[in-house]
């Protein structure tokens, strides 16, 4: 993993909090709103102690009104502030979908560039501990398919900090997906004097010559485990790319790798059908067709809402073992 500029280890949740803290100190127009964030500090503890420093005017507990949360944030972003929205679970973005799509994403175009819309919408996605169908979704592909939005999905504490900072400083709307299973992950995190991580740049997490494994969010860790196993058990050198941003995404870094390895596997937790993997695969076919020695393989969840029971939940998750098997089957 990248460790440039890092000085100490933090969890993903702590890194999120630190990003908020630094940005709120840096810019008095940055503020935070959502359910259970002020008194409780966020349902994953990611905002603890912020009200103590910044007050309840800038760390705002809201009613259960997702549509109003996003609409109010849009209105506030249009008029000189930089709101950061917290949605309990990414599944609930559906409750504010109109505000995200028909307002936030379209406003710049509709009004012919009159509006800046410095707005971040944070939404924890993914499966964790049998949270079942309405608390486990990974809907990022919807937002990639929505012109006007940026979409990021950090997999490490360092990226959780750096990408949140970049998202807050961005003048357009950014949908920021955190994976619920990563909040407790520890890793090196840069201190205050380091620049945010630019949106749209991937990270090569591991070098390899034989196959390119492309992923993002939690599945990057499965990809890394798979790469280690492929190396040690099968002497296959996998290059692992963490996209970090899904729109814009870093096709250049990916293409550079594919031109070297000639073999590609894309893995994400979201359903395979209609997932971001399709976009990556189709793009690679368009741009690197002649470099491909084998069909591109996509791994994603099978076509089902996420079931509750642990063996079923486990069954629909993309695992390191599946990645290993799929790479080996590429021949």
């Amino acid at each position: 993993m990248d460790t440039i500029g890092a000085e100490r280890e933090l969890t993903y949740a702590e890194a999120t909090r630190e990003a908020m803290q630094e940005e709120m100190r840096r810019d008095p127009t940055v503020w935070l709103l959502g359910e259970d964030i002020a008194l409780q500090g966020g349902i994953f503890g990611q905002f603890q102690h912020l009200p103590q420093e910044f007050g309840f005017e800038r760390v705002v507990d809201t009613p259960i009104s997702e549509a109003a949360i996003v609409a109010a944030a849009v209105g506030a972003a249009l008029t000189g502030t930089r709101p950061v929205v917290d949605i309990h679970f990414a599944d609930f973005l559906t409750c504010a979908m109109d505000e995200v799509i028909n307002q936030a994403a379209k406003i710049s175009l509709m009004f012919g560039g009159q509006a800046r819309l410095p707005l971040v919408i944070r939404a924890p996605s993914g499966m964790v501990r049998s949270a079942a169908a309405q608390h486990s979704q990974s809907p990022e592909a919807w937002f990639v398919h929505t012109p006007g939005l940026k979409v990021v999905a950090p997999s490490t504490p360092a990226d959780a900090k750096g990408l949140l900072q970049a998202a807050i400083r961005d003048d357009g709307p950014v949908i920021y997906f955190e994976h619920k299973a990563l909040y407790t992950l520890r890793g090196p995190v840069p201190t205050a004097d380091v620049e945010p991580i630019p949106i749209g740049r991937a990270a090569v997490r591991r070098k390899g010559r034989d196959v390119t494994i492309i992923s993002y969010s939690r599945t990057v860790h499965d990809a890394m485990a798979a790469a280690e196993a492929l190396q040690s058990a099968h002497a296959i050198g996998a290059e692992v790319i963490d996209l970090r941003s899904l729109w814009p995404w870093d096709s250049e870094t990916v293409l550079r790798s594919v031109r070297k390895t000639h073999r590609v596997l894309i893995a994400h937790e979201a359903p395979r059908v209609g997932g971001f993997g399709g976009e990556v695969a189709a793009t690679l076919v368009e741009e690197a067709f002649d470099y491909l020695d084998a069909p591109i393989v996509r791994l994603g969840a099978p076509h089902t809402p996420i079931p509750f029971s642990p063996p079923l939940e486990q069954q629909v998750r993309v695992t390191a073992a599946q990645i290993v098997a799929a790479v080996r089957a590429m021949g």
Partner: protein, 328 residues
């Protein structure tokens, strides 16, 4: 309110004991779930309704088995009160193949269509529109059923609350909106983020009748629901029933509940719905103690069997993960 025929009478003594029995079944079910969850036997997340048993028991006592209810994330009590089998419910919480939802739903999506229980809901306020739709279906099919939606004080701030109540009013649907006002929505007190103290006041916005009752008094909940059900069944349209109550546990099992004070908790503990009704029943007739004792034993036996059933049931086969994902 209602003028239609007296479809259900006020409670007879035996029915009041049944009410208490239902509450006890819920209480002990929830305490058992809490213990099992803390022991690591249950996957997922669990929201208990300890302290709120009177709303589930009182409201469902006013319904028939073919009436519909929709529920919330805090739905075990509603499901039990509507008549579901505690063993299959417990198996669901364990994620077992024998669960009411075959292990696919868990606590947050517990449902039993065979007793008209159309599902708990992980989306706050998700059940109100479903109940309005069930009521529309009742009208279309011309049956004498009604639908009842349980929802929380927090849910009353979501758009679907508004759209559903207006909807039910304009079509005069046979539906009852039953608010369990337990003072909190997760960590935030209703007082801080809801513009009115009584959700019942919002009924004015839809020109429908509403009433506020002591939600810890199962008989009062029954009586208010009964009136609303009669109104619905006789074609006079929807009502809003607000029950003031309190959850004696955290929002979810594991919630440190730092957001409320001990004194408030103690005040409500003194008004425990089970103790209230038990006290009343025994004061009227101390000889009932024996029957209550017998029921207590029956509840323990039922629960023990439920847990044993759940524990010994098989988990779903991993290979069956795609079953029910898709209809047709």
């Amino acid at each position: 309110m209602a003028t239609g025929g007296d479809l259900l009478p006020p409670l007879a003594p035996v029915a009041r004991i049944t009410l208490w029995h239902t509450m006890l079944r819920i209480r002990r079910f929830e305490e058992t779930v809490e213990r099992l969850f803390l022991a690591g036997e249950l996957p997922g997340f669990v929201h208990l309704c300890i302290g709120q048993e009177a709303t589930a028991a009182g409201a469902c006592a006013a319904l028939r088995i073919d009436d519909y209810i929709t529920s919330t994330h805090r739905g075990h009590g509603h499901t039990l009160a509507k008549g579901a089998d505690p063993a299959r419910m417990m198996a669901e919480l364990f994620g077992k193949a024998t669960g009411v939802c075959r292990g696919r739903g868990g606590s947050m999506h517990i449902a039993d269509f065979s007793v008209g229980m159309l599902g708990a809901n992980g989306i706050v306020a998700g059940g109100l529109g479903l109940a309005a739709g069930a009521a529309m279906s009742i009208k279309l099919r011309g049956t004498a059923q009604v639908a009842l939606a349980f929802f929380g004080d927090g849910a009353a701030n979501r758009g679907p609350f508004h759209e559903s109540l207006n909807w039910a009013a304009v079509y005069r649907l046979p539906v009852i909106f039953l608010c369990e006002h337990n003072q909190y929505a997760s960590t935030t007190s209703a007082r801080s983020l809801t513009a009115v103290e009584d959700i019942a006041d919002r009924a004015v916005a839809y020109a429908i009748p509403s009433v506020v009752v002591d939600g810890n008094d199962a008989e009062a909940v029954y009586e208010a629901t009964r009136v609303a059900v009669e109104r619905a069944r006789s074609g006079e349209g929807p009502s809003l029933v607000e029950c003031k109550t309190y959850r004696l546990r955290g929002h979810y099992v594991g919630d440190p509940t730092t957001y409320r004070d001990r004194e408030e908790l103690e005040r409500w503990r003194a008004r425990d719905p089970l103790l209230l009704l038990e006290y009343r029943l025994l004061q009227e007739d101390p000889t009932r103690a024996e029957e209550l004792q017998r029921l207590r034993a029956a509840v323990e036996a039922e629960l023990e069997a439920a847990v044993a059933f759940a524990r010994t049931s098989p988990l779903p086969e991993a290979a069956s993960a795609l079953e029910y994902a898709f209809i047709g």
